[in-house]
């Protein structure tokens, strides 16, 4: 046990498979870029996660690409990408002088495409690969890889073969049984799972009668989704042994603590950075204070420390 005075001595590091992070807070893919360096010291972060890249050049989706909702946002940015070569030439060097490990998020329309891109980005300076398998699988009628355990297993198996870097698999919440999908990823050799990408949603402008997104549907993120993704994090953490990285609606240190208690080893922060660009270092500071106040010498002891009720009435409907 700790006294409040020892706030400086708290061990904030967490272990995500073979990687040790100096703290559990990192950006979510697609919600981070070099611009943040103008606001705070990027070396404070636990890790970096790039916007998802693809092999080929892509424009991204039709405008408008974002819409506000109740305590959340919809996006249909798509994956505008300058392609692999531009990534290697322009983006990778930016991170070279920085300390936190760099996680490169990748996507492809086929399992083989995923494998090829994973191989091609397995380079010095890249600490891990995050496979964003929420993208449409061209070999399965355009359904996302991540919606079924079978297609997840297929793509993860090929990825595992293609790279020896730590492999994180980012799951989709748009599925019936995310724990089953996580188990599939684990059994094919994923080193960690990220829970989760955005939840498919929609909004309509009642003046114009048009969808608020040019792409009609898009992904919901932000505070509104936290209860849903937190539940999935809890379910996945109980289903797998590999580390779980929680991601959905985290906007302050308390939110991050909820994810840790539910079983996450680390967390990613997305939308909140759009509203408060310095929110990640604030969350790191808040986690340190929380540990000090509650007497945790090691932050990682919070992971999975949820106190479950002794007896929960079973066989009951949630609603």
């Amino acid at each position: 046990m700790l006294t409040g005075a020892s706030v400086k001595n708290i061990d904030m590091s967490v272990q995500v498979g073979a990687l040790t992070l100096q703290n559990p807070v990192m950006p979510a893919s697609g919600t981070f870029a070099e611009g943040l360096a103008r606001v705070f010291d990027l070396n404070d972060l636990g890790a970096f996660v790039t916007k998802t890249i693809t092999h080929e050049k892509r424009q991204g989706n039709a405008l408008p690409r974002v819409a506000e909702t109740a305590e959340g946002m919809l996006n249909s940015i798509g994956i505008p990408s300058k392609g692999l070569d531009a990534f290697l030439a322009d983006v990778l060097p930016f991170y070279a002088p920085l300390c936190p490990p760099l996680i490169v998020s990748i996507s492809a329309p086929t399992a083989d495409g995923f494998a090829r891109l994973a191989r091609d980005v397995s380079l010095p300076g890249v600490a891990a690969i995050e496979a964003n398998i929420s993208c449409p699988n061209l070999e399965a009628d355009g359904r996302a890889f991540a919606v079924s355990p079978e297609t997840t297993a297929q793509v993860v198996a090929k990825l595992r073969y293609a790279t020896s870097l730590p492999l994180w698999v980012k799951l989709s919440p748009n599925t019936t049984d995310i724990a089953a999908v996580a188990r599939a990823a684990e059994s094919e050799g994923a080193d960690a799972v990220v829970v989760a990408n955005t939840i498919l949603g929609m909004a309509i402008d009642t003046e114009t009668f048009k969808p608020r997104l040019g792409n009609v549907m898009g992904g919901l993120s932000g505070a509104a989704v936290k209860p849903i993704i937190l539940r999935m994090t809890y379910q996945v953490a109980r289903a797998v042994k590999i580390p779980v990285i929680g991601c959905g609606g985290i906007g302050n240190a308390e939110d991050a603590v909820e994810y840790l208690l539910a079983g996450a080893a680390a967390v990613q922060v997305g939308t909140a950075t759009f509203l408060h660009p310095a929110v990640m270092p604030e969350i790191i500071a808040g986690l340190r204070d929380f540990c000090a106040r509650r007497g945790f010498a090691r932050l990682s002891d919070l992971s999975g420390a949820l106190r479950e009720p002794a007896e929960v009435a079973v066989g009951e409907n949630a609603a």
Partner: protein, 279 residues
């Protein structure tokens, strides 16, 4: 692996997020208000054409909007420690801004984006703006004046009494030409004549600047192309992050057949006029 030890920051950090005190928030006319905040650095370092991202409060019984709202810097005064905005009451966010009173506070992020560039060789610039676009152009005129440039300012408005900021342009030493819809002087043909008149009088500007109107943009693009006059335009686009991270604010630029998508918040909001498709 061992724990990574943070090293010293290697980037400058010219952008801040902070709650600033409201000094005044007075109506300019029925549609526009003028907001004055107490601000220190880096806020008052804002350059003409740069913008801030404002976290609007809740208002009218509605919850606060989720996204910030981008707003051009109308004046940044490091001496007085003030940051000012001129804004139109449009939708939920700006209406909520309208409800602020002296003593309230407003969370401000910035300064953001790339502003206007003034080439040291230029001796005479022309600014052509309308409506709230004048808020963006006024600081440019003052900066040009400080660099010893001559300024011609054509200020367009619906009615005589709606021309905003004319006194600021005049104080910057600009030749102010107000044009209005009610007497037809703001019509494209008339503006065309005024612009051509400058060339004919040997008084052609070295560069032209505009903001916020497609009609004026097209007029100036044509003018610039015909007379080889460079130009810059500040464009608007819906924004989420304001820091180049989300790619929601892209617009097509350059070659019309194969345009390139650029981020308004990061690559702009000021762009080369000839590369801009519309604004």
């Amino acid at each position: 692996m061992t724990i990574v030890q943070p090293r010293k920051a290697i980037f400058p950090r010219p952008v801040a997020e902070q709650a600033l005190a409201v000094l005044a928030n007075d109506p300019v006319n029925d549609d526009y208000k003028h907001l004055v905040l107490q601000a220190g650095q880096p806020f008052t370092q804002a350059q003409p054409g740069q913008f801030f991202h404002l976290l609007c409060p809740s208002g009218d019984g509605l919850a606060a909007p989720y996204f910030r709202r981008p707003m051009s810097c109308y004046r940044a005064d490091p001496q007085a420690g003030r940051l000012e905005f001129l804004y139109k009451l449009a939708g939920r966010g700006t209406r909520a801004l309208g409800g602020l009173h002296a003593g309230d506070s407003l969370n401000v992020l910035g300064p953001l984006g790339k502003g206007f560039r003034l080439h040291p060789d230029w001796r005479h610039i022309l600014v052509l703006g309308r409506g709230v676009g004048l808020a963006t152009l006024a600081p440019l005129a003052e900066a040009a004046c400080a660099s010893g440039m001559r300024i011609t300012a054509i200020l367009s408005a619906r009615r005589h009494d709606l021309v905003m900021s004319a006194e600021r342009f005049a104080a910057a030493g600009a030749d102010v030409l107000p044009v209005h819809d009610d007497d037809g002087s703001s019509a494209p043909e008339n503006l065309h004549q005024i612009l051509e008149g400058l060339v004919q009088a040997g008084n052609a500007p070295d560069a032209v600047f505009s903001c916020g109107s497609n009609r004026l943009l097209r007029l100036l693009q044509d003018y610039g192309r015909r007379h080889g006059i460079p130009g810059q335009v500040a464009v608007e686009q819906q924004m989420a992050c304001g820091l180049g991270m989300c790619f929601c604010c892209v617009r097509p630029f350059g070659d019309a057949a194969a345009p390139e998508h650029r981020r308004v918040c990061w690559d702009g909001p000021v762009f080369d006029m000839q590369e801009t498709h519309e604004c």
